[in-house]
Symmetry: D2
Subunit: 373 residues, 4 copies
Amino acid sequence: MKKTSGEMNYSDYLHLDKILSAQHPVSHQAHARSAHDEMLFIIIHQVYELWFKQIIHELDSVIAMFQTDIVDEKHVGVAVARLLRMSEIQKVLIQQIDVIETMTPLDFLDFRGYLPGASGFQSMQFRKVENKLGLRPEQRLTYGGCPYHASYTNEAQQEVLQTEQEPSLFHCIERWLERTPFLGHTSFDFRSAYLNNYLAIIQREKESMLADGSMSAHERKLRTDMAEQSATYIRAALDPTSYEKLRAEGQHRFSHQAFLGALFINLYRDEPILYEPFRLLSALLNIEEYFSIWRHRHSLMVRRMIGSKIGTGGSSGFDYLKSTVEKHVIFTDLAHLSNFYMSRSSLPPLPQDVQEALGFRYVSRTTMDNSAS
Amino acid sequence: MKKTSGEMNYSDYLHLDKILSAQHPVSHQAHARSAHDEMLFIIIHQVYELWFKQIIHELDSVIAMFQTDIVDEKHVGVAVARLLRMSEIQKVLIQQIDVIETMTPLDFLDFRGYLPGASGFQSMQFRKVENKLGLRPEQRLTYGGCPYHASYTNEAQQEVLQTEQEPSLFHCIERWLERTPFLGHTSFDFRSAYLNNYLAIIQREKESMLADGSMSAHERKLRTDMAEQSATYIRAALDPTSYEKLRAEGQHRFSHQAFLGALFINLYRDEPILYEPFRLLSALLNIEEYFSIWRHRHSLMVRRMIGSKIGTGGSSGFDYLKSTVEKHVIFTDLAHLSNFYMSRSSLPPLPQDVQEALGFRYVSRTTMDNSAS
Amino acid sequence: MKKTSGEMNYSDYLHLDKILSAQHPVSHQAHARSAHDEMLFIIIHQVYELWFKQIIHELDSVIAMFQTDIVDEKHVGVAVARLLRMSEIQKVLIQQIDVIETMTPLDFLDFRGYLPGASGFQSMQFRKVENKLGLRPEQRLTYGGCPYHASYTNEAQQEVLQTEQEPSLFHCIERWLERTPFLGHTSFDFRSAYLNNYLAIIQREKESMLADGSMSAHERKLRTDMAEQSATYIRAALDPTSYEKLRAEGQHRFSHQAFLGALFINLYRDEPILYEPFRLLSALLNIEEYFSIWRHRHSLMVRRMIGSKIGTGGSSGFDYLKSTVEKHVIFTDLAHLSNFYMSRSSLPPLPQDVQEALGFRYVSRTTMDNSAS
Amino acid sequence: MKKTSGEMNYSDYLHLDKILSAQHPVSHQAHARSAHDEMLFIIIHQVYELWFKQIIHELDSVIAMFQTDIVDEKHVGVAVARLLRMSEIQKVLIQQIDVIETMTPLDFLDFRGYLPGASGFQSMQFRKVENKLGLRPEQRLTYGGCPYHASYTNEAQQEVLQTEQEPSLFHCIERWLERTPFLGHTSFDFRSAYLNNYLAIIQREKESMLADGSMSAHERKLRTDMAEQSATYIRAALDPTSYEKLRAEGQHRFSHQAFLGALFINLYRDEPILYEPFRLLSALLNIEEYFSIWRHRHSLMVRRMIGSKIGTGGSSGFDYLKSTVEKHVIFTDLAHLSNFYMSRSSLPPLPQDVQEALGFRYVSRTTMDNSAS
């Protein structure tokens, strides 16, 4: 790195004067000396907030790239890289719980009485992350009967509520999936072709059951019934009208068109042009899973630290956190897609023109490996 | 390491001939070549089984040490080390999920059809681990209506059911906790002293609320009610009769005496003689938490891989696994102990004779640091 | 999963009879009961060997795909996935060291005397992994003066030496890089364009130093000298003849053409057609780094466990392992490429026709996002 | 947690106004918009500095407890907990490298030119950590010929140099080890008893070699020579005078008395009173190893990011970092202790009175498990 005389140094660049002077244990006020472990409590929360800022930085940039009607193919690659970075950060967030768990409940009690209420629950940045990912206000669990922003100043409240209104990552991805090409390609009707093949698979299964002499009548009935249910399940999901009914019941969140787009990308992900879209969907599912894991571990840590007063009335921090594992979810539709997969050998073949459109152009394919000749 | 002429080599010692010749992909039978990823599927399951064998090896040794009426003090230290090792293995079990997740659902579908049913659900060793830890038969979730050992041979069934009958780790720890000394020491009645101090704390809290002019009448009512509930909660848990009632309702699993022992150890853990007992309880809680994390991650992985057919009737592997996170628990009493902690400064002081009994003997304390003088 | 009457079960499928009956502690022979920790020693080594088998399975499949003169574009994507899987396995190999470190040196000494010599050093599979990656026989450190296969049976020796002869991953990647298209494209001479731009950057730097009045004469001399050295360094690497000289000295391993290919891919990695090649090179560098980390941690663990007798003559296991961190390297050329990067804004622009050849075809780019319109 | 009307909230408590407003990308000054990845670069360095502050907090508290002539037995337990916490933080520091590696070299080049020189090398807190652990000024590698504090302001320089003068953790531990009791106990001379037993083991080995007819004369010579060397090695280390000579050569850092104390603790660590001392030494070794791992991974990351200009003259950041792995070490003596271990069955038995002094007192041992009877 180049260095010139009057140059800024490392400490100035990172504004370490501010960063390293922002730890003020409150237990100090009550005692001659502060509780040793309060420093850890402060620093780990500050570290979490710094990482949340970074996550927001990544989220904002991806949302900005996906808000346009036409998403540049290069942007998909960049988005994938940034979502994967988010997951690496999430792994660190999870790992950090091992650090906080070195503080035992008794050590926590040495200063807990002096702390402001509700702690982590009040993190404004984490609420923004949830909103920007696409958590819907109506999904939110309340804690102690108050809206999540009850403790904020008016200004902060406005700022957070604003993120409920802005287009979320979920929204952008849904719109982008709806525009997946080839779904309505003239020479290939993906929806019908897929449905036909899936129903044919089930039909073959049923026939093989009927032909299997080793099966008892009871078992045969059971299994053919299950096969029927599968057929009904698939048919309902593929039909726009019944899909909307299931969606209203909460079984799906994506629009039908976005659902079909995501299914197409997952089934034909071996096509080079779908590599990046497939990676994008996988990266989103990773983020969903890592938040689930973080919430789960977080809830275990809180239970270990402050318990969960069963029978005292009022829900505990542990109960709240445990419930968010189930309820504060966003991209579960992507996980449920596995219900609709079929093996590669059963996939409807793509017509020649679709296939060509999905591959790299001929010229690059040849030069890629023939330049030496 | 020394080497002599006729000596056994590394490969013989590890019986690698058996270990490395035990991978036989079944997809091979149906195709000219097997599905590439079936090898990973086989190997990772074999690795899991090897680790389960190691976990059982550790569990058995700890149970054996704790089955006697008098547990040698040195054995507690050894037990702690082995339980901590179990947790290090559990971390590897969790990390391995990142490996299996490199197999995408479509890759899995390339051979899934040839696999034996129910897979991991059938692991006999894992069932033994659950039984040896102390999972009660009545706690077990059924899957598809059958008992967990339905698919086993008669011999295997006997073997697993046997572990339901043998003393479990939970049982041994409960007995050991019941024998915690000092609980009924002549000069110190822990139960009464603890209860008095806890109720005094609550009383002081209530008084400070009544004196706080800035609080609204509504808020004061709310908070004094909560304080009352806490007092009731603590009183009930400390009283043997009402504790048994709560225990019958499932709010506790430990006997009352074991509960008191565990509470005592946690509250007075700064006493050197309680270091190892405290570490033991912490290690058990770690094991409980890591299995919870593993089950949670496992369920997410299964959902991602094979989905969760909502609406097809019959519970899915995902639903089953997700429920075991909540239901297949053993040492949660240790986590709930945090509900009963008070800060060090509020703890009933130990009488001089108890304190001496809890410290190292005088002679060692002096020589420990005075030998240079 | 479907289940039929006579079907194979989980245990049969995994051949658990073989896997779980292959642990035979030798300390048992000398004592009434075996040393408790020998079981861990056996099992963790068996687990390592299972993972090595899996790594070889992945390596073989990637090498097979890259041995042809024309590598199908889809194969690059598959290779990337398999190399990334290898890295996930490597992370587990590293994590497992935390498990073995729960065994203390004294526990190890309880059975160490009964063990076969040299232990892990004798792993035939690990030697194969090194050979298949591309470790050259002449790079290998010897241990105790013997070739690494000295302790093998004749048959095993043949088998391992065979892998020294077969095309390695390094070899295949080098050949593939040499065929990188566009390097010699008629309208774009990458080598000259790159060199010109790099030298122009250095020239501008020198001019700005000369114009900087705040710099002392001494500092200016120092810095202009460094800039000159950089120019010399870059010129030498870009020139085929001087590159070969440096290569003979061991500063490079790739052929000059492969070096240029790898540089081109890294610099223009934002072009969609280079996404997969870039990912492939990154994945190889990951593998290199994770083996480096594993060797380093392994050496620390061995030092902790059995020490390193300084002054006894003869190199220790620790010394050997520590040296392999530096010496048993394969793809370091990929790490050194960073010496040749320039910022995106300085990159020679690609001519229109090359750019088109590097993008997806026009038709897909439009339909990708316009189908909704 | 309790909440009162006028109470401080989460954001005020953590001073998030300062923490979250301290990110000022410099690439912004040169461009219309800043390089996206500079935010990550700033935030991850700020996070590292926060963790360094926490590590210093733990280190200072442990050093303070060990500076007295008599270390309270309870303090050893607290010190172990805090050193273990340091290792959990170190694991996070290592894990974070996965996050920074999501930034590719080209992304780094988008803003690298605007950065202050030398970056992480200038971290004052990390220098303090090294000094407080006990790195000696004369061990330090220089970088570019300047002392490590060359870039600091006068005030900062004083502050860092101060930590070179203060008692380090190494120094405190050495003093504490020197005071290990029982080393010169009247009824037990550890040094002689140990040496006798070790030499007897070697003697038996030699005799068994001479009796082994299957060994060739050459091999027998080789092995008996090695046994002789071991005897010489052990004798030299146990003799105070020759030990000091080896120490002057750099083979040991601990004083001879501290070396004997550490050896005694490790060999007799099964005695309850030595549990905490043994854990303390293990925790120190963990810290040493994790810093080694962090330095190693750090060096790989730097090489990947900015390369290592071989042949340009002047050492690179990579070369510097790689060398610190070997050179910036503190507690390696603890790792080398393994050279001196013997199996439990060969250990000189402790006389009855020493044994009693090392166990818990009789009264506690009985009541611990007999209260139920």
